[in-house]
Structures are given as structure tokens and as C-alpha cells.
């Protein structure tokens, strides 16, 4: 008998707050955490975490302070996720999987800081939790977080571990701002995914953590991962595919695994970075997959593009949609701006949901998709 993979608890940290509940409140009210911000002699529209709140939260945790900023965020998010749970990484049957694109990128300016190595950061975090197993970290561009969720699914389903803590995080940094800016990929306003006037990404920072387990805890409204797959466009290292066939392949893989067809998907949380080419590619892929009528949003309008955290923060947002039977508007969207129209959510409303799909795509031509289902 193959074990099912249940969502037990989660936590979101971004500009919108340090709890999942604060994020849901912002989604319901359509409030963004994106603000104008001055650095590198320019103004950028970004979604930064409140530093004073971070210090306050960290002090409340009362642990030794010698951690880097991102490590603090990871430790806070994982601690909050494990609160009141019997499951803990110090037990043999529990694995920690992190996801990040750049890790402690803020220490790169300092020479010879070992914490610039992603595995060093991973080990620092695992040591804090006295992890029994060697932790893992995925660094696969902007699909990292979604892929970490897929790996958790595979580890539990194949019986290798009973419990997996997945946590994805990345910082807002001059490193990524200058790079995306050189790519002319940053918008001049708050990002507007799928909108006619979209002109680029708003970068953000955050951490999202989910505890998955083969054991389910409560009897009603159990959320499970039922499928997941990744793929590659094999087309260009930075330009999104012109056909969307790579993302379509990842969606098909996840649907096949879940035993579902397009009509079963009640809500789709897209990647929706708000660059002209990305959103166009996604719209084509959703058409190829027969999902053009499915209610779709991008959460980027709320907390920006959080890179290696994006997949997990947006998986949690999708899970909470599913659990609460609510769908949230795609902030920044006014007028259809993709050549093959898709059904973008314009306002907060209640909707009975059974299965939701989360997709992600990134540099290197990679794509990933994961399906969450509600079992009553």
C-alpha cells in the first residue's frame, strides 16, 4: 500500500507578515506588500520583509544570534511550522529539504565566508533543529520551491521517509536586483501579471515552509499532494519557450500521476512573473493543457517574485485556497494581455475546490507542476 502524502502544517513569511493567516487576510483584501525602494541609484518596486519585525520575531525565539539573515528566516519559518506538532527533524523518519536560488547572497561581498555555500547554510539550519538525517537543498532556479514539494512527495510516497519538512527561501539583494535589471526584466510599477500593461517583475523576499507526512492528523478536509512533475523546454537558457510545450509536459505529468483531467482542476496558481514573454508562454501552455477556462491567478502581485521561495509560498497559498474554498484575485490584473486569453481571477470569492494546480518556470528552461487534492 503506497503511503499518501498529507499537508500537516505550514508557515509563510514575506512583506505581508510572519504567519500564513496574515497572508490570507491580505489576499482577501487585495493588499500588496510591494513598495518603491531606492538602491543602486535607482527606484525599484520590491517586496521587502520588515527588518524591525524580523528582529522582534528573532528575539522572541531566544536562540543564539550568530546566524545570517536568511538563516534566521528559515529557522523562524520552520519553527513556526513545527509548533504544536509531534513530528520533529531530530527523529530518524523525518527529512529536511530546503530550496533556494542564492542562499546567503548578502555575504558574497565578504571574502572567504563559508556561509556563501548553499550546503553550509543548509547545515547551519539543520544543526539548529538537531536534524537526524543529512538535509538536502535544491537549487533549480525559480522552480526550486515547487520541485522541493515534488521531492517531499516522492520521498514519502516511496516510503523512504515518513515526514518531510520543506522550506524555501531567498533574499532581496543588490545581486539579484542588478541582474534582473540588466536583463530589462524589472517593471516600472508594481508587477501586473497577465495584464496588457505588464512590464516586468517585482522582486520580493520570503520563506515558505510546509510539513508533509504519511500520517494524517485530522479527519476532515485533509490536503494531499497527488501528483508532481518537472520538465525542460530545451529551447533557450533565459528566453521562455515560444510554444509552452515544456510547461505543458510538466502539467500533463502531474495530472497523469494524480489520475485527473483538466476539468477536475478548480484553481490554478500560475508562475505569472509579469514579464511579457513569461506570461505569454504560460497562457499558451494552459491552452495546450485545456486549462484556459480554469480560474487562474498569480500571487506575485502580493509579495513579488521570491525566487527559490516562490514555489513554496505559492503552494501554501494554493493549499489554503483549497482548504478554505476561496479563490483570490490576481493583483495588478486589469485587462487581458496575453494572445490566448485565460480566465484570470478578478475578485475574491468562495468556490468549492477539490484539486488545485501550482506551476512554475525558470531560467535554464525548467518547469514544474504540482497538484494538491482535498480528501474528505
Amino acid at each position: 500500500m503506497t503511503p499518501a502524502v498529507h499537508m500537516i502544517s505550514n508557515n509563510m513569511i514575506s512583506s505581508l507578515g510572519f504567519t500564513t493567516a496574515e497572508h490570507i487576510e491580505s489576499f482577501r483584501l487585495g493588499q500588496t506588500g510591494i513598495i518603491p525602494f531606492q538602491t543602486l541609484n535607482e527606484t525599484f518596486h520590491v517586496s521587502p520583509i520588515n527588518q524591525a519585525l524580523l528582529e522582534q520575531e528573532w528575539d522572541a525565539l531566544a536562540v543564539q544570534p550568530n546566524y545570517e539573515k536568511l538563516e534566521k528566516l528559515f529557522i523562524l519559518s520552520i519553527s513556526k511550522t513545527l509548533e504544536n506538532q509531534d513530528i520533529h527533524p531530530r527523529n530518524d523518519d523525518c527529512l529536511i529539504i530546503l530550496s533556494s536560488t542564492k542562499g546567503n547572497i548578502d555575504v558574497l561581498k565578504q571574502n572567504h565566508n563559508r556561509n556563501a555555500y548553499l550546503y553550509e547554510m543548509t547545515r547551519n539550519i539543520a544543526r539548529h533543529f538537531e536534524a537526524a538525517n543529512r538535509p538536502q537543498i535544491i537549487s533549480t532556479a525559480c522552480i526550486s520551491g515547487t520541485l522541493a514539494g515534488i521531492m517531499a512527495y516522492r520521498y514519502i510516497k516511496s516510503g523512504r521517509y515518513k515526514h518531510v519538512v520543506v522550506s524555501g527561501g531567498d533574499l532581496l539583494s543588490d545581486f539579484t536586483l542588478s541582474g534582473f535589471n540588466a536583463f530589462k526584466a524589472l517593471g516600472n510599477t508594481d508587477c501586473k501579471p497577465f495584464d496588457k500593461n505588464r512590464d516586468g517583475v517585482s522582486l520580493g523576499e520570503g520563506v515558505g515552509t510546509i510539513l508533509f507526512s504519511s500520517e494524517s492528523q485530522n479527519s476532515d478536509n485533509v490536503i494531499q499532494i497527488t501528483g508532481g512533475a518537472s520538465s525542460n523546454d530545451a529551447n533557450h537558457i533565459s528566453g521562455p519557450s515560444r510554444t509552452g510545450d515544456g510547461l505543458h509536459l510538466a502539467i500533463q505529468g502531474a495530472m497523469k500521476q494524480a489520475g485527473l483531467s483538466q476539468n477536475d482542476i478548480g484553481f490554478l496558481s500560475a508562475h505569472g512573473t509579469a514579464t511579457p514573454y513569461n506570461d505569454e508562454m504560460e497562457a499558451k501552455a494552459f491552452h495546450l493543457s485545456g486549462l484556459q477556462d480554469c480560474p487562474i491567478n498569480s500571487f506575485k502581485g502580493y509579495f513579488g517574485h521570491t525566487l527559490g521561495a516562490a514555489g513554496l509560498l505559492e503552494c501554501i497559498a494554493a493549499i489554503e485556497s483549497l482548504r478554505r474554498n476561496e479563490i483570490y484575485p490576481s493583483l495588478g490584473f486589469e485587462e487581458m494581455g496575453v494572445s490566448q486569453p485565460v480566465n484570470i481571477i478578478k475578485e475574491f470569492r468562495k468556490k468549492e475546490l477539490h484539486h488545485v494546480l501550482k506551476t512554475a518556470s525558470g531560467f535554464g528552461g525548467c518547469n514544474a507542476s504540482i497538484i494538491f487534492s482535498k480528501v474528505s
Partner: protein, 85 residues
């Protein structure tokens, strides 16, 4: 003008790491993108950086680049126009 265009061609080949190409293989009016030299979107962005760094000319809108980056000659005359003003 032609001497300048030839110098520019060598600079571009170096800047874009087009190592398999000898300068003689590239005509001054050959299309740089698509069927021509096969440059891609990253090269176009890199040419924007190149113009700013080497010639102090800023291009804010990448769409503008499409007109300018048609061939070595179009880039050369764009640079000369901007240096004269």
C-alpha cells in the same frame, strides 16, 4: 566610417564571445539576429551594456535596440550620430 565599422565588428565579436567567427566572415551589412549571425535575446541585452560601457550611450528601451542592432553598419552609424551630438 568603414574603418570605424571594422574596428567595431572586432569589438562586438570579442564582447559577445563569438569565438568561432573570424572578422572576415562577417559582412558589415549582414543581419546580426535570426538567420544571420544567430545572435539571441541575451546578446541584444549585452550589446546595450557594450554601448554604455564602451561609448557611454544609454538605450533605455530594449525595443529601440531592435532597430539599432540590425547590422554592424547600423550600430556604427548610431554610435557616430550620438557621438557627434
Amino acid at each position: 566610417m568603414e574603418a570605424f565599422a571594422n574596428k567595431l565588428k572586432v569589438q562586438i565579436i570579442q564582447h559577445l564571445n563569438l569565438e568561432d567567427l573570424e572578422p572576415d566572415e562577417v559582412g558589415l551589412d549582414d543581419p546580426l539576429f535570426g538567420e544571420g549571425l544567430g545572435l539571441d535575446s541575451i546578446d541584444a541585452l549585452e550589446l546595450i551594456v557594450f554601448l554604455e560601457k564602451e561609448y557611454g550611450i544609454k538605450i533605455e528601451n530594449p525595443e529601440e535596440g531592435k532597430q539599432i542592432f540590425q547590422s554592424v553598419n547600423t550600430i556604427a552609424s548610431f554610435i557616430q550620430q550620438h557621438q557627434n551630438t
